[in-house]
Amino acid sequence: MLRFLQNSPHALELVYAGTSKMLVPFRRVMKRGSRMERLFIHLEKWTKGATFDCRMCGQCVLHSTGMTCPMTCPKELRNGPCGGVRANGYCEVLPDRPCVWSQAWERSRKMPLYGQEILHVLAPVDRRLKDTSAWVNHLHPELLKPPAGWES
């Protein structure tokens, strides 16, 4: 069941797009440090944990990475595969696991909405956001601002 879900990136991107829209009216109650955030942290750990093996980086980019969590890459690469991917498409560091980025690329090809996002360079991870709610942060873009030098 889970495997089926993971390999249905188009369904997942629709869920993402839908949730994204649905949460907008709740922006004012979904604040950092609120009860709602604590609830969402639990929800995200459950749902995204089960579906994506989510590591709670707090700055979800799944729609940019083929609905495959880049933080499960042993090098936590968010901008594409390393040069060490094995000929069978498996991971350099964990040889019994498929490369996260091989999967991400294949899945992104089946994502008509956000599939092209994988071609854009993402900013470095903000380590302060670990274990916060990615949805709460998503509703407050000021929390997800890249470092000042990165912008423009």
Binding site: P74, K75, E76, L77, R78, N79, G80, P81, C82, G83, G84, V85, R86, A87, G89, E92, V93, C99, W101, S102, W105, E106, L119, H120, V121, L122, A123, P124, V125, R127, P147, A148, G149, W150
Partner: protein, 307 residues
């Protein structure tokens, strides 16, 4: 000119470039660096100083580069994200530039498990892509990642790696383009033992128009023996060697590895969009001059460092 490095001059001048890798010593003696450098410098345009490649400690790339610039060589300082966070790396880039380093190769780095100290903490705060962008922010905006202004920005020729020989093959040309978008001026690839695969990759790169924006140097290296080739294929991350090559090494006698390397260089040279070769002769530096000569690439001016 972004950096004024010898390598940049050669590439912008349109000459087919040769870079070579210096295997950093397990030593605190500068002479062990110079000894290796003297062997390869006369035949190449820049010398790559590796940064604990394969997660094995050796003399640091900053240290090796500082020694090389003192002696007038043009180094390519390799920087990996495995061992240092963004604070340390930005400081090293400034320090290296102050020591006369003008070329930097931005890498993610092999995992710690590949080395002899797998107990170490892998850092990977940045990745090769964000490292490239960070270095270009230092150079072009004269700022740290935080936006804080630099008094004098570093002049750097920024490089990145690509491995056309590892899956997902059809993502690789796009990833190369991403690296160019992130700030890469030149590319050095992983070892090429599969020329048809490289041709396919380059065709796609040309289709994307990326070869017009970046100088691509293809990695090559002499195999020692068939056995060594099999070992490399199994144990060195990212190295792909087709069976035909291993068979040829088994059949061929002494010197087959070098002959093969020369042939590969000659084939690579014919591919449109390839701007040079990067020779990685692991523990066989003495072969580099012969390879360059036999491949017909010997006409070159002496390396010089700009103040």
């Amino acid at each position: 000119m972004r950096s004024g490095s010898h390598l940049e001059e050669v590439l912008r001048g349109g000459r087919f470039a040769v870079t070579a890798e210096l295997n950093p010593p397990d030593s605190a003696d500068p002479e062990s660096v110079y000894q290796r450098a003297r062997m390869i410098a006369p035949v190449c345009d820049a010398i790559n100083a590796t940064d604990a490649s394969g997660a094995h400690v050796h003399m640091s790339s900053v240290g090796v580069c500082a020694l090389l610039t003192r002696a007038g060589f043009d180094p390519v300082m390799q920087v990996s994200c495995r061992d240092r966070n963004r604070i340390a790396i930005q400081g090293d880039l400034l320090g290296a530039a102050a020591m006369g380093v003008r070329n930097v190769l931005c890498l993610t780095g092999d995992g710690v498990q590949a080395g002899d100290q797998p107990q170490a903490k892998p850092v990977f705060d940045l990745d090769s892509m964000t490292l490239l962008r960070t270095a270009s922010i230092l150079r072009d905006k004269g700022e740290f990642l935080s936006g804080r202004k630099l008094e004098v920005p570093p002049r750097l020729f920024l490089g990145a790696a690509e491995n056309p020989f590892a899956p997902p093959y059809d993502f690789r040309p796009h990833r190369l383009k991403k690296k160019v978008d992130a700030g890469a001026d030149f590319i050095q690839t992983q070892y090429c033992y599969d020329v048809p695969r490289l041709r396919e990759f380059m065709a796609k790169v040309r289709e994307l128009g990326v070869d017009q924006k970046v100088f691509i140097l293809v990695g090559v290296g002499p195999l020692r023996t068939a056995k060594a080739a099999e070992w490399m294929r199994a144990n060195v991350p990212g190295v792909s060697i087709p069976d035909e090559i291993i068979d040829r090494m088994k059949r061929g006698g002494k010197g087959e590895g070098k002959r093969l390397c020369v042939e590969i260089i000659q084939q690579i040279r014919e591919i449109q969009g390839v701007a040079g070769v990067h020779i990685m002769a692991y523990r066989q530096e003495e072969l580099v001059p012969e390879i360059v000569e036999e491949a017909g690439l010997l006409v070159r001016d002496a390396m010089k460092v700009h103040p």
